[in-house]
Symmetry: C2
Subunit: 298 residues, 2 copies
């Protein structure tokens, strides 16, 4: 005798699909991850992909909450943004519901800010709410393609900034002259090359991102850097400059909470530490905890 | 009765080929430009391209001096770098000569610096020597794919920094999420969008390049920026950050000399002016004047 239809959440981003099925007492009973990000799905094909990935969970009806880029203009259902300052209740109130057969779908809104500069996020907000206590203050850092630094005050998201660190790294290594010297073979992560990049970004003699990155090429041409270490030097340089940018905004005065992929969080933790900024890593599955808290509001 | 074989110089870069034929009294009697940059030439095909482009000038023998990326590892003949501090005489002494039939080829060296950060150039140095008087002091800015800021002291190149401004602009508009919102149709340059980008980079609230560029997307999503103006906003942001980087290095205390493409120099002049930095534009054909002075040394 079930208490109701199965409760499912889907964290559906640009490059990944993560689904969780809850049991009656709120515990996760099943998890499914796939490389079925929205960029890999043709427009209009989202319902089909949902069935393909987790159809077994959906038979007989289910309540499915979705967050991430699946709620964007290029996703399934575009939801409006909730403006900062944003609470978990604002997310609940801004959700867009849609009935598809016996599926009750609920698409969460993203969060926007208009000033001091326009900025937007979709998917990170539920992870932030899952990582901070209801009345907490702090700074969250969500590293990735478009890293987010998020200010939380008394449990509300009051401001944030996006940094294109991950995407700039990807396009520079794939499409710029910096990538041409990188050996094809996968190399193990070189902590020293990474640390040197972080240090260079923090130095008084830094020329800024646009200047510093060229040294990843000229250093190789002049024998000061091994071509095998270009990627890690560049990674350190870009993350170091992200931290420098956040620092110039005054966002690194306290310790920061890292949320996301453990390996990437560890890399950011190392760079923050080298910059004199303390950090801790949020418990895993922050989005799941955020949805739990959202459900608890109801 | 000729005084000797024709004198020809070729400024052969990554994306362009520019050749000049001198008359007996040192005046330019013919100019040829083509989109035959070294990236468009198969390895080993350089002699053939030279014949195709200016074969008519070469019959019966000629003295040809070449500078630019044609002297790099990916070019025709790789020349060593001359280290800073570098003089015009150092370029002459570092040239690599090669006889090809009745052609006397002379490939100029590039210039390198080892500290404070490794950096290299090939082709800009002869333009710098062509733009500054023999004992002049000053800062030269050569905007482009890899913009160079060059310090000249008593006519010597004593230091320089490269900024990947042009290439970062190209890869971001072609390969990043910022490019996806840009309309396909060519739009006229929008000075206001450019100026806003420059101003954003100079503001105290700047998050650095990695942060500021995302606003070219979020601004459009939130209605604060027209998609038609993304390119010019991004151009202003990147040039503004190049200037901010050079300023943090202390390279903008005097006025600066802009060398290169007139339209690009004008754009940099506008951005420098908005940043409170005076500039002037060097006479055109700086490379030709540099070679003239090189010849005068002999």
């Amino acid at each position: 005798v079930s208490a109701g239809p199965p409760r499912i959440i889907v964290d559906w981003g640009t490059s990944s699909f993560r689904a969780y099925r809850f049991g009656e007492s709120g515990e996760i009973v099943e998890t499914h991850r796939a490389a079925a990000g929205i960029l890999s799905v043709a427009s209009g094909g989202f319902a089909e992909v949902l069935q393909r990935e987790i159809g077994g969970w959906l038979a007989g009806g289910a309540e499915v909450s979705l967050s991430g880029m699946i709620t964007s203009r290029n996703g399934w259902v575009e939801t409006p943004y909730v403006s900062t300052p944003a609470t978990l209740a604002d997310l609940r109130d801004g959700a867009v519901r849609r009935q598809e057969g016996d599926l009750s779908l609920s698409f969460l809104p993203g969060v926007s800010q208009a000033a001091p500069v326009p900025d937007v996020m979709r998917g990170e907000e539920i992870q932030v709410f899952g990582s901070f206590a209801r009345d907490a203050d702090g700074i969250a850092v969500l590293p990735g393609t478009h890293s987010k630094w998020v200010r939380v005050e008394r449990g509300r998201i009051t401001g944030f900034r996006s940094f294109m660190t991950g995407e700039v790294f990807a396009v520079l290594t794939a499409h710029s002259i910096l990538g041409r010297l990188i050996p094809q073979a996968e190399m193990p992560f070189n902590p020293q090359a990474f640390a040197e990049g972080v240090a260079m970004a923090a130095r008084a003699g830094s020329a800024g991102v646009l200047g510093d990155i060229f040294s990843a090429r000229s250093g190789v041409l002049l024998g000061a850097l091994s071509a095998e270490h270009i990627r890690d030097r560049l990674s350190g340089l870009l993350i170091g400059h992200e931290i420098a940018g956040a620092t110039s905004l005054g966002w690194t005065s306290g310790d920061v909470m890292l949320i996301g992929d453990p390996a990437l969080c560890a890399r950011y933790g190392t760079a923050l530490d080298a910059s004199g900024i303390t950090s801790r890593v949020a418990p895993p599955d922050a989005a799941v905890e955020g949805f739990r808290r959202l459900d608890a509001l109801k």
